[in-house]
């Protein structure tokens, strides 16, 4: 596997959607390639951080506006 091929497979690797043999080949390449090891690690970090940006709840004032609007029948 080359660095370019590894990068192409990263999305499916992250989703654990690769066949075992391909995944093993990717890990083998990353074990001996410093750059690809960092790419796998930091790509994973970028994906892992994204749900932190998800709004956990609607702000109370906005929710109150929505409820008032619904109360008027939309």
């Amino acid at each position: 596997m080359t660095c370019a091929e590894l990068q192409e497979l990263l999305l499916d690797h992250q989703a654990r959607a690769l066949p075992f043999r391909v995944s093993a080949s990717l890990r083998f390449h990353a074990a001996f390639c410093d750059c690809c090891r960092e790419l796998v690690r930091t790509y994973g970090t970028t994906v892992d951080l994204a749900p932190d940006l998800r709004a956990k709840e609607v702000p109370a004032d906005v929710h109150a506006e929505v409820e008032a609007w619904l109360g008027r029948g939309g």
């Binding site: 990263l10 960092e38 690690r41 970028t46 994906v47 951080l49 994204a50 749900p51």
Partner: protein, 197 residues
């Protein structure tokens, strides 16, 4: 997407039942807000997106085609509203998505050097810094990539769900998402890679 939708809710919404519409809104209000906020990164804009989404959904509820796809229908409206709003606002300039794949030699080996980051995502303070920077970097993503990234990585919709909301093919969603992630990773690396300027 969210949990199971009560049976007949879609039919009742389509028939104009105000209680059913209110129930639908309450089920999905958080996600609609979150999409608007993640797309605009501005609470006032997110409020406008939510209001416009609900107004449009209310007006078009009679034309609802598939009673089982209510959340996808609402998410599509919210994404379209956010897209329209962003086009009327002065925004940070977007960065080109070209070149995010990096450079490789003829045999497929990477040419540029990737170094470890100086921050630890397992540390709460570092993680907050990284997340803040990620949010800022997402504002610079071109719209088609940002939409996919918000729905897939922030809102955690499946590829099939994102494809349904944005009316894209799954391969198209995967391509856009991968490039968005590479672009965001690159922006974080520019700041946090050891020895980065």
């Amino acid at each position: 997407m969210s949990g199971p939708v009560p049976p007949e809710l879609g039919a009742r919404v389509r028939a104009g039942d105000p209680d059913a519409f209110a129930q639908l809104v309450r089920l999905h209000e958080r996600r609609l807000w979150s999409i608007g906020y993640a797309m605009t990164r501005n609470p006032e804009d997110a409020r406008d997106v939510l209001q416009e989404t609900l107004t449009l959904a209310f007006r078009s509820r009679g034309g609802l085609q598939d009673d089982t796809r209510l959340e996808a229908w609402l998410c599509r409206i919210a994404t379209n509203c956010a897209r329209m709003l962003l086009r009327t606002r002065r925004r940070k300039p977007t960065v080109s998505i070209e070149g995010v794949e990096g450079t490789f030699d003829a045999s497929g080996h990477r040419i540029e050097d990737l170094r470890p980051w100086s921050v630890d995502p397992g540390d709460a303070v570092d993680r907050r810094r990284l997340a803040d920077r990620l949010a800022a970097a997402s504002e610079e993503l071109p719209e088609p990539y940002r939409e996919v990234w918000v729905l897939a990585d922030v809102e955690q919709l499946s590829m099939a769900e994102v494809a349904e909301v944005l009316e894209l093919t799954i391969p198209n969603v995967k391509t856009r998402l991968h490039r968005a992630r590479l672009a965001l990773r690159k922006r974080l690396a520019d700041e946090f890679e050891r020895g980065a300027a």
